[in-house]
Symmetry: D2
Subunit: 336 residues, 4 copies
């Protein structure tokens, strides 16, 4: 079976998911919904993607700009098997009610939606099986995905008795010039922050999180403190991470002193759009004292949830098992 | 007795300590050592401070720039009772060996020096008495002072069983245009970082710290997780902070959403140089669950150690007791 | 006569104008209009300012926050002689129509409004006399004021044949954490930009401007190229600036290498809120080759238009002549 | 003939030139000189590049890090025809004296060197022929190259009577986390700045430049004002740019509101390392009034000089004519 996928919301995440879907041999990208005829739209057309618009206002914009589009999105939604909804936060829930449920369309939502929008909150390597044959799946946010991958691996290997995480978040995406701050640290003063409970929609571990925003655009950074159920060594933890998919170990000693060099390396590697789908754990930061573990990780928030969307589609149509899907997806990105 | 104070190193901290000393009725600022005849030097002269230089190269610079100076610093060091050494990190230890010990001069060092440079590492409200009549005292760094103030208060009230702190550091001071990063998060990958042990030079509590630098100039922010020895409520903790000197409670609900509004408020208050000597705890962030405590604080690193230097002088000459000194110093800054 | 002044819009500019008005002996600040009971409101009350609100929604916020306010602004507007309108851009024109004209209230508008909102666009040292006895005066924007001060002086002394200016604008104010960009240069691609024509509402000189935004919060910087009507020397130009009010000459050689050190100096000087009402011209940058002039200036946009508002009030009530008003205002700020 | 090329200094520019050389069919990359065994070194080895080191200290570092290297660079320099010297500014002149001249090696220098290091300062589309058969050629800096490309085209088409340029420079490269400023605008107060005379080493046009640094890492932006010798229209200028190699026209109306979206687009395009070798002119910014021209351009400083190095090699060995070389080089980058 080749699943016909529609992409609603062609922004930072949406355009990446579209490209990822287009590369899979068991999926077909039947079209994308976009509101503005900008450079992203023009490039989508060059790639052969069919563009649909949500309303007549958008239709006019495309006409005026002389950028071809296929018309209103109704046509798209009547010729697809599943919609990946990458619209701005909170719109997914509206779209579910107004579009997907009436049309009996399967749909994937992103982490900006509340978890009750879907039947399951999803991180492929944690709970692929729970999404099998489901109609509504939520791929959790970049931060939550990042924590689920590494803490899930730790939990599997050693058990997590309790944990505290501080999330130092990039305040805006690289192509977003409207959002600040320019020179401030912005804490979320509500403790614990929402990311902890969000992790628990995927992973049943005790976790408390505190989040702050800082004036950078590249990556989020997480500081993780965990109390393990059984003692380990730093080497044990390194081995676990080394043997877990979608995690990569980087060393400050190799010049990876910050998020900046990680991105520079991704550029040198020739990664498309310099995307690092893996969670980057600083190997030098892994600290274990008996059952006390600490480490620092970086999350490329533009990229890390993209493979999860691909795997979610496979699960929802029961195309294959978790391991097969993750390997297939990884291969298409050139990651391990 | 009026203590004659010399100030060595008239930079971000040094110029503030000089001004603070000049305001005390039991101290006299006999001169400052500066290397460059820049705007800070010119303003020092307007304030009536006598400027000395460390070497002939500096002497020439002052002559060329036509900025008056009193000559080499030997003259200054032979007419003072104590030197506050605010020279760049690691120079204090050199100066001790080469200048202060040979001249039998008492000296205060700052947090950039190792703790063994002095007989005691100092935070006035934590261990004033230990510095009484000492010859060499180290005022600990802005970060360490910030943690000692709030965690010391918590430890006194409830006991600290264990603690983890993440320090999100401003990467450069506002007047430093050479230092980056411009767009990156820079972790110290060595865990635990040095600030934990540094706190322990003042305060005997279990503490592990992780530090990162971010592209902002205003203030450091600390996220503190502590396990208390006896249970408390959030209100208990607020009461403790409200009743502790040099700590101020701010609420995000009043518009203090970030370090930026704290500084804006200090400007509105008319604080000289917008200096906030107090540690700012976000009252809304204080979270207690039984014996688990978390809170977020901001540290104005240009300012918070300045009163400690004044108190250290009083202790070293046994001018008065801790409470009297702290009150005197506070009053001179207009803080509670 | 003591003019009764109401201040509508107590933000970055409004709070400064309120403080400035409160310091004048020929003016009385009868109240300020504010929408939110935040730290600025609380401090206004400590200063003895009466707070009014624009609507019942704001009234409720103040009640809930337990911050005293005098009620709806109608009461304020019936007991004042003039309103200084510092509300967000474009609201001034609405307020004029809905509030000031119906109540026959004189009003001052800021640079966010179009020039046709008022009878005259105003920079005190350029055209004070034109505002005498007028009912509606617009104090032009920080950028326009900055250009009018220095280019007006140049025009008076040497005549301006033609001019080109590039404005490198700070993208957000220091207490604004919502606005970006964090890491980009944002040009206004419409050439010439609106600032040139805006200068011409005050000063009849040929000028073309190009503007860009950059990720900093401190000050705007302008690069000015002017073709003079008669030749001059760099020293001539320095003399003109040195003898013109509200312009200050700073030298990179004194350590003023960037906007950061200018602000550091304002802090060291003890300027309230570190405000630099003067336009800062880098003396070292002044370059003249015959009739070709170039120089670089910095504009502290939070502060530089504040004295203009005070002078505009005096002109509108014909309290005194330009020279007397400017001197009075300058004295109240402690500037030359 | 296949020219054997050695690359000295494998940093931001060096690694790009190495990759570019390796792709040409008339060149062979025989090795690169690198000082540190970091991630760039490891990736170079994966690419099959031979690494040499400048001294024994570096040799030790490579050994300790277990990163293979071929030994000291003498071996490399005795088996190549030309060295591209991408070492830090001012080192090129030293290397010329100490290494290249004694070995009678041809060498290319970069824009950090003074122009007298070489026989010709080079921008391929401006003066390829002058470099033919030369031994020492200097590829001018990113800023100078950017100005030569667009102003050279304008000069050819309409003549340049006089010109003024303001360069708003990115303060640090994306992978440089040491350099600031974080929050300031830093003017070069020496007017005119050095870039004007540097343009004149390539292009005989009257030009005065003023430069500033701002806290961003992505691209430089130039504002160009030119007085033309003969009148033109905006459309004429667009046509000239559209028909000139290594210049690309972008429109703000397509979403290119800043340097950030240009880079985002380069990422979407799949450009290796998101490199934009072309100078980006904002088409919407092109303004012409008779003989007065203004426009804004962006320069991707990591990338734009890289093709020039390739062309310089061809010229120095007279491998082909300018047009052929530029086309060959362009094709290897996938640019027009």
């Amino acid at each position: 079976m080749v699943v016909r996928v529609a992409l609603n919301g062609y922004g930072v995440i949406g355009k990446r998911v579209a490209d990822a879907v287009a590369k899979q041999d068991d999926m077909q990208l039947v079209g994308v919904v976009k509101t503005k005829p900008d450079y992203e739209a023009k490039l989508a057309i060059k790639k052969g993607y069919k563009i649909y618009v949500p309303d007549n206002a958008s239709l006019d914009l495309f006409k005026k700009a002389n950028v071809p589009c296929e018309g209103l999105y109704d046509k798209l939604f009547s010729s697809c098997d599943v919609v990946v909804d990458c619209t701005p936060a909170k719109m997914g829930a509206e779209n579910k009610k107004n579009i997907y449920v009436p049309r009996k369309l399967k749909a994937i939502f992103e982490g900006g939606e509340k978890d009750d929008v879907a039947e399951v909150s999803f991180v492929a390597q944690c709970n692929y099986d729970k999404a099998v044959n489901k109609n509504y799946v939520r791929v959790v946010s970049c931060n939550t995905t990042g924590l689920c991958r590494t803490m899930g691996a730790i939990n599997n290997a050693f058990g997590v008795e309790s944990s505290k995480v501080v999330l130092i978040r990039r305040a805006a995406d690289p192509n977003d010039i409207k959002t600040g701050p320019i020179n401030a640290i912005v804490p979320e003063t509500k403790i614990p922050s929402h990311q902890g409970p969000d992790v628990q929609t995927v992973l049943p571990i005790p976790i408390e999180t505190v989040a702050l925003k800082v004036p950078t655009t590249l990556m989020h950074v997480h500081v993780v403190f965990a109390k393990l159920k059984k003692p380990a060594t730093a080497q044990d933890v390194k081995n676990v991470f080394a043997n877990t998919t979608r995690i990569a170990l980087f060393n400050a000693a190799d010049g990876f002193e910050s998020t900046a060099q990680i991105i520079d390396y991704a550029r040198d590697l020739g990664r498309y759009r310099y995307d690092m789908q893996e969670i980057i754990v600083w190997e030098d930061s892994i600290y274990v004292d008996g059952t006390e573990l600490a480490y620092i990780q970086a999350v490329h928030n533009e990229a890390n949830v993209v493979p999860e969307n691909v795997d979610a589609i496979r699960a929802m149509f029961n195309l294959c098992d978790a391991k097969t899907s993750i390997e297939k997806t990884n291969k298409s990105f050139g990651i391990k």
